[in-house]
């Protein structure tokens, strides 16, 4: 009985193991798709929310903020901003009131000159996000 550690077997384990875990990952992905309807708040995914998401993307908000913990860590988490800022009016008011040249010495959000429609869409998007089932993350209202 000879002890062996062969390249051929190492190769088999690489290919076999990778395929095995890829298939497992696909199986879990499939299950995730079936579980989403219960938690992704898709029933509130309106045209307006989709428009808000587009505005979120096309102004690179993720370049400063986090959304559900992902993004830059320069500015507050926005997954629960709808609740923290007291609803749509709080959000719209905050965005609209940013000074054009920033606040001296402080981190400042740019003035994006959004229309009323755009502001409503952004608020709707953040409301939709805040109602997703995120396993009760963030831990508290401060995000």
């Amino acid at each position: 009985m000879s002890q062996a550690f062969t390249k051929a077997m190492a190769r088999n384990i690489f290919y076999g193991g990778s395929v095995f875990f890829m298939l497992l990952f696909l199986a879990l992905t499939f299950d995730t798709h079936t579980a989403w309807p219960q938690r992704d708040n898709h029933e509130n995914l309106t045209e307006q929310v989709a428009h808000g998401k587009r505005l979120w993307e096309e102004n690179n908000c993720i370049g400063c903020h986090t959304l559900l913990g992902e993004g830059a860590y320069f500015a507050p988490e926005l997954g629960n901003a709808f609740k923290r800022l007291g609803g749509a009016d709080g959000i719209k008011g905050f965005i609209a009131s940013r000074p054009k040249d920033g606040i001296p010495g402080r981190r400042s959000m740019p003035q994006f000159n959004f229309s009323e429609d755009d502001l409503n869409a952004i608020a709707a998007f953040l409301k939709y996000v805040s109602e997703m089932n995120t396993a009760s993350w963030p831990p508290n209202i401060q995000g």
């Binding site: 009985m1 000879s2 002890q3 062996a4 550690f5 062969t6 077997m9 190492a10 079936t34």
Partner: protein, 200 residues
């Protein structure tokens, strides 16, 4: 001769081997798999501590008879596999192939029984998100289920090669490699069965 080959030759001369049977590469894989299962088992036990009533209630709804059949099937398969290794060692390739095919048959029995259990759960609308117990039960058993399939694929490859006379008493590492992996699949189930189906 490279230094490594010299060492290997030296090892062969020793009566007691330093390494387990089969290719060392499969043992690295086996260790990784065992580690994953160990973490899953510990996670099950400690999560159960916080949900004892829930776990006991749903554990009682599992089909222990099916689990018994499955345990016996896996143990028998392991026994067959081991007999196949002995046959290969004695240079009886055809016999080795027969034992290994028999083990594959036992693996298939496991798959059939386990699938019927899954069909039952599916019919009852149970999935990974139903509750914490089913999350663990389905995760653990399904992860193991996939290992049975992988083990069978390996055994089929071994059986085919053995049937072709591809192993000799001197060189049958492939049989031992496949056997070691299969025994690992069996080993994991031996802990899984009491933990998930019986202990409360």
């Amino acid at each position: 001769m490279t230094a490594e080959a010299a060492i290997q030759q030296q090892r062969r001369g020793l009566a007691v081997p330093r390494f387990p049977p089969g290719d060392l590469a499969i043992w690295i894989f086996i260790l990784a798999e065992l580690l994953v299962f160990a973490l899953f088992f510990a996670a099950y036990a400690f999560t159960r501590m916080q949900h004892i009533a829930l776990f006991d209630r749903y554990q009682a709804m599992l089909n222990r008879d099916a689990a018994l059949i499955n345990t016996l099937a896996l143990l028998t398969a392991s026994y067959f596999v081991m007999r196949g290794v002995v046959a290969a060692r004695e240079g009886q390739g055809r016999l080795c192939a027969r034992w290994t095919w028999a083990a594959v048959g036992m693996g298939a029995l496991f798959l059939v029984v386990k699938s019927s259990e899954y069909a039952h759960h599916l019919h009852a609308g149970i999935n990974l998100s139903t509750n914490t117990f089913y999350m663990f039960y389905l995760s653990l058993t399904f992860f193991h289920f996939l290992h049975v399939i992988l083990g069978m694929v390996i055994l089929v490859a071994v059986a085919l090669k053995a049937g072709r006379g591809g192993y000799t008493p001197e060189e049958h590492t492939g049989v031992e490699t496949g056997a070691s992996y299969w025994h690992m699949v069996d080993l994991v189930w031996l802990v899984l069965f009491p933990l998930v189906y019986v202990m409360k």
